[in-house]
């Protein structure tokens, strides 16, 4: 099971609640696991896997945690 967490507008655009889970049978690219991310809407977002920087092409394994976040500036 891969855990997917997203925050801010990225969460709302993906239609995820706080956390989503996806079952995978073999290692998968993030963009294949979450096809919505291929949209240009998500060109400039932050992706972390298990707290480490990642991209849409990063391959995830069972039990990995993906975190998807917008780039913000905080004022």
């Amino acid at each position: 099971m891969v855990i997917i967490r997203a925050i801010g507008w990225v969460r709302e655009r993906l239609g995820i609640h706080d956390v989503a889970h996806k079952r995978i049978s073999k290692p998968q690219r993030i963009a294949d696991l979450i096809p919505e991310l291929r949209s240009p809407l998500f060109n400039n977002i932050i992706i972390l896997v298990n707290g480490r920087p990642a991209t849409k092409d990063t391959v995830v394994n069972d039990n990995d945690e993906i975190l998807l976040m917008p780039v913000t500036s905080g004022g």
Binding site: W9, G51, L67, M69, V71, T72, S73, G74
Partner: protein, 610 residues
């Protein structure tokens, strides 16, 4: 020349004199406006070593060539002076109708000199300038004062004013406009108070001169459209910067308990969704189509305009997990004219000092009632408030112990709302910001999260400088808001196109970077001239807490900055900027930037490296 009026309005309050001074075209092209123009005037005209709260200091209100011109978020101006908080260069920007009125009145900047013996306010209507008694306004809060001034002068005037904090010379008093627009963190409101100047009221009726009006409208329309089509637009309109509470907590950078931690157990109670539930209306700056001032009903059933910085600093950083109460503290700060970032730092610092028995007063984390009393005591300099009005650096020097380690400031200016235990680039950005610790110039944390938190690389240093050039250089001199670019991805080329349409001058991004470097070098020269031989690279260090006290909770538990690696980054920073190992611009750098006169003056105070 188009784009600028080429005029500075000078008002001497000691002599009750008003004059208009021409600004040379060469100066405008070299320094553009806003921060650039303010820094140039302060460098040229202030005698080093003056007391910032004496009549010798000057208050600068400066617009840029885009101010008031139609275009995304161009309704801003810069306020600047020698800072009573840091004794160095200080400035801040405010989104206000006063910026548009200033330009329509026919000026690029106002310089207020001297000091009045009695409270006054200035009324400007195009070429007519009156200095009017403010005896009946002195002591009143900023909300009430602005309402009264608008009753007299009309609802459409622009107003910049101070509250009791500015009058009582609180060292982090700000200038306020439109009931919650605040700017000038390094005590620019106190400088205004020291001149017994309660308010500046402006009405302008002229047309701002631009080189190509049709092109301005065309570029602005495209840019506004691009902003509205951004993927984050609708969410932004709902939460604005308040979405950052959740973001910061997720990334362990939400300042909590005086920057001891980066996560707050009750962050959900003060986040953007909680704000949405309390929101009654939205306010914004002139010319903005992505307004971000979220107005809520506070704990006392009054209106309060919230954004991320004030909620983080008056919420998690003082352990207060109740948004209505946070909103009340924020409203009081705006009414009294106190900077919410420094205030949140000072309250947290006082709480920790109480906990460690360095002060007698009993203050507990999250004690709303006590904090509310303290905010009032600070504004009126009563009891402990008199000491707290001095800012964390001076309080620490007074109460001693090891408090200097957790007095969260750089050069005396308190840190904005991002914890840096695990963010070396963000720490560097704070430490090298030209006014002391402030996020305005290089909010690099999002990029740093993207590339990795634990590394200390030259790439990070280059990014800090790139952001300082854009945020602290381009946006602060034009003067325009950075949020359409950083939050919604508006391309920088729009600003270059608008600049060309307004001024007729074709500048590339690289040309503009050179302007930014010039302004940064000039401001650094200002600091060095003030501090002389006392200046050292230690001035560009973040607080000891981030090096010595690891985070005790959250996903980055155990993280802290590495002093040696930070120091290496600082050396890279100086090298790229062409500054020496003390952080002083080299003579050759100043000459290359067209600042030979600055080099000659600076050499009187310190030896310059070649």
């Amino acid at each position: 020349m188009k784009g600028w009026w080429g005029k500075v309005l000078r008002i001497n309050l000691s002599e009750n004199k008003v004059s208009v001074q021409k600004i040379e075209a060469e100066t405008l092209v070299k320094f553009i406006g806003g921060r650039g123009l303010a820094a140039k005037i302060l460098w040229d005209e202030l005698k080093p070593g003056i007391d910032p709260l004496s009549p010798e200091n000057k208050l600068i209100i400066a617009a840029g060539p885009l101010t008031g011109v139609v275009g995304p978020s161009t309704g801003k101006l810069v306020v600047a002076a020698k800072s009573p908080l840091t004794n160095g260069y200080g400035d801040g920007n405010i989104g206000t109708n006063a910026s548009v009125q200033l330009r329509k009145a026919g000026y690029d900047a106002i310089v207020v000199e001297g000091a009045s013996k009695k409270p006054v306010y200035i009324y400007i209507e195009d070429d007519k300038v009156d200095i009017i008694s403010a005896e009946g306004l002195w002591g009143r809060d900023t909300f009430e004062t602005e309402r009264l001034l608008k009753e007299v002068h009309g609802k459409d005037v622009g107003v910049l004013l101070i509250g009791p904090a500015g009058e009582n010379l609180v060292r982090y008093a700000t200038i306020i406009s439109q009931e919650g627009r605040s700017g000038g963190r390094p005590g620019i409101g106190a400088v205004m108070g020291s001149k017994k100047l309660k308010a500046i009221v402006i009405r302008g009726t002229k047309e701002i001169p631009v080189a190509d009006k049709n092109e301005v409208v065309k570029v602005a329309s495209e840019a506004y459209r691009e902003i509205k089509n951004a993927p984050a637009y609708n969410f932004w309109m709902r939460q604005g910067t308040m979405a950052t509470i959740e973001w910061s907590n997720t990334n362990s950078v939400l300042p909590t308990f005086n920057f001891r931690e980066g996560v707050f157990d009750f962050y959900r109670l003060i986040d953007g969704y909680s704000m949405e539930a309390m929101k009654v209306t939205q306010r914004g700056c002139p010319n903005c189509n992505m307004i971000c001032g979220n107005v809520v009903i506070d704990y006392e059933k009054e209106l309060s305009e919230l954004d991320y910085e004030n909620v983080a600093m008056l919420g998690s950083n003082i352990g207060l997990g109740h948004l209505g109460k946070v909103a009340t503290l924020n409203k009081l700060a705006d009414k009294y004219g106190i900077d919410t970032i420094s205030l949140g730092n000072v309250l947290a610092f006082a709480t920790e000092a109480s906990e460690k028995k360095l002060i007698d007063e009993k203050i507990e984390w999250g004690d709303f009632k006590k904090y509310k009393e303290l905010v009032e005591d600070i504004a009126f300099r009563r009891g402990l408030g008199d000491l707290l009005a001095e800012g964390t650096k001076r309080i620490s020097e007074k109460i001693k112990g090891d408090s200097w380690k957790w007095a969260m400031n750089v050069k005396g200016l308190e840190i904005s709302a991002y914890d840096c235990h695990a963010a070396p680039a963000m720490a560097l950005a704070y430490a090298t910001s030209p006014i002391g610790a402030h996020h305005k110039d290089a909010w690099v944390i999002a990029w740093e999260v993207k590339v990795g938190r634990t590394t200390y690389t030259k790439e990070k240093v280059e990014k800090v400088i790139e952001l300082q050039r854009i945020r602290g250089g381009i946006f602060e001199t034009l003067v325009a808001c950075r949020l359409p670019w950083i939050e919604l991805g508006l391309k920088l080329e729009y600003y270059m196109r608008l600049f060309k349409a307004a001024t007729g001058i074709d500048m590339t991004l690289n040309d503009y970077y050179k302007v930014a470097d010039r302004v940064y070098a000039l401001i650094r020269a200002f600091w060095v001239r003030e501090y002389g031989e006392k200046w050292s690279r230690e001035m560009d260090y973040p607080p000891a807490r981030w090096f010595e006290e690891p985070l005790t909770k959250g996903p980055l538990k155990g993280a802290h900055l590495d002093r040696e690696k930070y120091d290496t980054m600082l050396s890279w920073y100086y090298e790229i900027r062409g500054w020496d190992e003390r952080g002083i611009p080299r003579k050759s750098t100043l000459e290359e930037l067209g600042l030979s006169d600055v080099a000659r003056e600076l050499e009187k105070y310190v030896e310059l490296s070649k």
